[in-house]
Amino acid sequence: MSCLLCFSSIGFSSIEDYLFSDVGITSNIHGEIGLIDIPSSRLLEEGNLKLHLVNSEPVNSMLIIASPFNWMEVSLRYADINLYKYSPFPTFSGNQTYKDKSFNLKLRLIKESETTPELSIGFRDFIGTGRFSGEYIVSSKRIGDFDFTVGLGWGALASNEGLKNPFYEFDESFINRSGFGSDGSVLGGTLAYNTWFRGKKASSFYGLEYINKRSGIRFKIEHDSSNPFGLYKKSDINWGLTIPASKYLDINLFRIRGTDLGFGISYKANYSEEIIPKNEVVSSLNFSEKDKVLLMEDFRVFTGTMNVLLNNYGLAPQEMSIKDEDLEIIISQSKYRNQYTATKRVLELIKEILVLRNIKNVSLVFQNSNINTNSISLSLPKFIRYLEGNSSIPELRDHVYIDNFYPDPDKELIFKGDIDFPIYSWGISPALKNHVGGPERFYFGQVGLSFHGAIDFDKQSSLSGTVSFNIANNLDDFKLKPYSLLPKVRSNIREYLVEGKNSLSTFEFTRIFKPVYTKRGALISGMKVGYIEEMYGGVGTEIAYKDVRKPWYLAANFYWVKQRDFNQRFTFRDYETFTGHIDFFWDTPIEGLSVNLSGGRYLAKDSGITLNISKRFKTGFLLGAFATRTDISFGEFGEGSFDKGIYFSIPLDIISSRHNPNNAKFSWKNLTKDGGQKLMNTLQIQKFLNDSAYNLDYKSYGLQR
C-alpha cells in the first residue's frame, strides 16, 4: 500500500475527480442555495431543477427550486407551520396546522473570480403572505476546500439585536416595515416592494462550508441571529452536514438554534443536458447494379424506397415533388423534438438514393395536421460532406435555409402518401386528481382511469372524447362551499371533484381549416365544438399567423361557452359567456427565452392581460411563470390578489436513448380563484406552428443528435 500512496503524491494530479460523488452546492432550509438557515451567494447552474424536503420543527417545507439562468434562482415553498392553526375556527379547519405558500428569488450580481468573491441579492417570500419575508445581500468566496459566506439580512433575516438598518441613513422611511402587499393589503400575493430592505434592524450572518473530498460530505457551520417566529433559542450557531447519496441525491442533517435537530433530502438534476445520450443507428445502404438502375429510372421505385426507409424511423412522407435537380419532400413526423434532428435523419437515410438520382437540393417541408409549417432547404453535396465529417456545423449553416412554405406549381408531384381514413385510436391512462391545502384536510385526491378515444375523419377533422372512472378517493370529506365576489367560474372546483368522480371529461369535434400560405408566412385557423373541458362546453374558433423568419407571431381565439353541470355529463348550468384573447408571442434574442402577452376577456367576464415568460432549454426542458391582471380589484379577486403561477415541463426522452418529443408537465397556481381565468383545453392553433419555432433556435444541437 505504501507503494500505491507513493504514486498518489507524484502522478495523481486529478485523483480528487474520482474520489467522491460531489453533490455540488446544497440548499438551506428555505430552499435557497446556502448553509443551514442562511443563504450563500451560490446559485445552481441553469437548467437545474431541484425538489427539496425539509423537516425542521416547527416549520416543515417542500420546495421546488429552479435555475432558468446561471444568474437567477427561483424557488417555490409550501410550508407547514406547526405554531399556528389553519384558522382560529375549529369548525372550519379542525386541528389542521397553518399552511403557507411563497416564492423566493436570488440574483447573482458579481461572479466569483480568483481574487474577488461572488455577490448575490435575494428576496425571500417576495410574493406570498409575508410570513417568511426577508431580503439579503450575500457574498461567498471559496478558498481550497472551504467556502466562506457573509451577508446582511433584513426582515425575517434580521434580529432585534441586529444593526440599525443602514438604509435609514439615506431615507428615514426605511425604518417602517409594515403591510404585506404593495397596496398595503393583507391578501398577500403581491410584490411587497414597499417592505423590501425596510425595518428597524438588519443583521449580519456568516458561515463556512468544508468539503471533505474523500467522502464528499459537506460540513456546515453558521452564525444566524434571526428568529422570525420567536422560538426558544440557546445558540446563534447552527451546524450540520450534507451527505451525498449520489450525484443527484443528498441528505442533510443539522442542529439549529442549539435546541433542535433537523433533516432534509434533495433530489436535483440538470435537465438542460441529456442524462442518457441518444443511440439511434442508421445503416448505410448498398444497392446492386440492377437496383441502382431501377432507382434511377423508375419514379415509383425511387419514391417508394424512400417512403419505406423513412417510415421505419417514424418519418412519414406525405408528398414528394421534383423539379430538375431539386426535390421537395413534405413530411409528417412526431418522433423528433427538433426539426434539424429530423432533417439530419432523413438525409442519413436516403442520401445514397438521392445521389443516384443526381439530386442537388433538397427541401423538407414539415407538416403538422394538414398545416405545412415551414421548409428547411439544403444543398445535398454540402450536407453529405458534413455527414461524412468533412465539414463543420458552422460551415454547413451557410447552406441550410429556413423559410415559409409556399407551393411551387412548376414542381412535378411524384409521390402522394395514401392514408386510409377514418383512423380510430384509443387508450387508457391513470387519472389522478389532487387538491392540496384545503381547510378541512391537507390533501384531497382521486385515483381513477381515463379512457380516451378518437376518430380522425381526415387530416383536418377529428372527434375525440375522454371518459373518467373513479377507483378511490377521499373527496367526500369536502365540506365547505367556495366564496367569491365574482361569478364562480373556477372556484366550484370542489363540486366538480365530488360530483364528477365518474364523468365525461371531454367530447369534442375539431377541425383545422385550409391554411393560407404566402411567402410572408402562413395564416391558419380552426374550430372546436363540444364539451371542451371538465367545466365548460361550447364552440369557438382560433386563428394564427406566423412568418418563420421572424421572431414573433400572433394568434387569437374566440369562444362562447356554457358552464357544465358538476357531474360532467351532458347538462349545463345557467352561466354562459364569451371569452377570447389576442396573443403576441416573441422569441427573444436571449436563447430559449420566450414572452407571451395575451389580452382579452376572461371567463368571469373580467378583461385584462396575461404575461407568460418561459425559458426553453435545448433538451426541451421548459421553465415558466405567468401572471394575470384584470379589471377587478385585489379585494374582488380575494386571497392572493391576482392570478399567477409557475410551470415546468420535463422532456421524457432525457433519460432514454430513444427519441420522444413528449414532456411531463407540471403547473402550480397559488389558489383556484375566479378572476383572470382562461378556458382550458382550447385548440391552441398556434402550437401547430410553434412546434417549428423553438426548434430553429437550436440548429447545432439538433444536428449533433
Binding site: 500500500m1 507503494c3 500505491l4 500512496l5 504514486f7 498518489s8 502522478g11 495523481f12 494530479s13 486529478s14 485523483i15 475527480d17 474520482y18 474520489l19 460523488s21 425538489l51 447519496a245 449520489s246 450525484k247 443527484y248 441525491l249 433530489y267 438534476a269 442524462i275 442518457i276 443511440n279 443507428v281 442508421v282 445503416s283 387508450g427 387508457i428 391512462s429 391513470p430 387519472a431 389522478l432 386528481k433 389532487n434 381515463s450 380516451h452 415546468f648 420535463i650 421524457l652 426522452d653 433519460i655 432514454s656 436513448s657 430513444r658 420522444n660 413528449n662 411531463a664 408537465k665 407540471f666 403547473s667
Partner: protein, 223 residues
C-alpha cells in the same frame, strides 16, 4: 447499469409521476412503463438478422442498461483488436479484456493489464485465486496510471446460448480489492471451455461509466 443509475432513474420516474398528476397524457405513461421495464429487465438482444448482415467479426455491446449495439472488428494490431460502432465508439480488447474505450465523455485511456493475468497468458485455473495489479489511465478528467489490485478466480460453469448455439463456459470473476479511489467493481468473463477464449463479458472501464457488457456474435477467425 449500476445501482446508482437505477436509483437515479427511479427517482426521476417518481419525480415525473409526481408531477404528471396535473396533466395526464397517455404517451407519458407508456413511456414510463417502458422505463420501468428497462429497469427491471435487460435490454433485448440484437436480432440474428442484424448480426448476420455484417460479415466481419462482431460483438453485441451495451453500456449499462442502454440498448445493445453491434460493434465490428476494424483492426488487429499484434493481438490488440480495435472494434468500432456506428456512433464512433472505439474499443480495444486484448484476449477479451477491454484495454481502451474511446468516444465517451469519460474514457478509459489505457489499461495496463498485470502480466500474470490468467486470461492474457492462458493459465486459467479453477482451483487457484490470483491477485493482480493492473494500471488504469482515465481521460476527462485525466488520471494517470491508477494501480488497482484485483482478485481473479473461478466462479461457476454454465451453458451459454448465443443465437441458438450452446457453448459450455467457465465463468471467472475479477474483483477489485484495493485502490486509491475506493473503486469497487466485479468483472465477469464467460470463457468457452473448448477454445479458452472469452465469448461474453461484463467489465467496468472507469468509475464514472456504467459497466460494459458484450457478447461475441461473430468470432474473429484468428482467435
Amino acid at each position: 447499469m449500476d445501482y446508482k443509475d437505477k436509483l437515479r432513474i427511479s427517482i426521476f420516474q417518481i419525480f415525473i409521476l409526481f408531477f404528471t398528476t396535473s396533466c395526464s397524457h397517455i404517451g407519458i405513461y407508456e413511456e414510463l412503463g417502458t422505463y420501468f421495464k428497462n429497469i427491471f429487465s435487460e435490454p433485448d438482444d440484437l436480432s440474428f438478422d442484424v448480426v448476420d448482415k455484417v460479415k466481419f467479426a462482431s460483438m453485441q455491446m451495451r453500456l449499462g442498461n442502454n440498448q445493445n449495439t453491434l460493434i465490428v472488428l476494424e483492426e488487429d494490431n499484434q493481438g490488440i483488436l480495435k472494434w468500432t460502432s456506428s456512433n464512433a465508439i472505439k474499443i480495444y480488447t486484448q484476449k477479451g479484456i477491454i484495454t481502451r474505450f474511446m468516444g465517451l465523455d469519460n474514457e478509459l485511456g489505457i489499461l495496463e493489464i498485470d502480466k500474470s493475468h490468467p486470461i492474457l497468458n492462458d493459465s486459467l485455473s479453477k482451483e487457484r485465486k490470483i491477485n493482480l495489479t493492473s494500471f488504469y489511465t482515465f481521460k476527462n478528467p485525466d488520471l494517470y496510471r491508477l494501480p488497482v489490485k484485483t482478485e481473479f478466480y473461478y466462479h461457476d460453469s454454465d451453458d451459454l446460448d448465443i443465437f441458438g448455439e450452446t457453448f459450455k463456459v467457465d465463468i471467472y470473476k475479477e474483483e477489485a480489492l484495493d485502490n486509491l479511489i475506493d473503486w469497487k467493481f466485479t468483472n465477469l468473463f464467460w470463457i468457452n471451455q473448448d477454445t479458452k477464449r472469452v465469448i461474453k463479458s461484463s467489465q467496468s472501464i472507469t468509475p464514472k461509466n456504467p459497466k460494459v457488457h458484450y457478447t461475441v456474435t461473430r468470432k474473429y477467425s484468428k482467435q
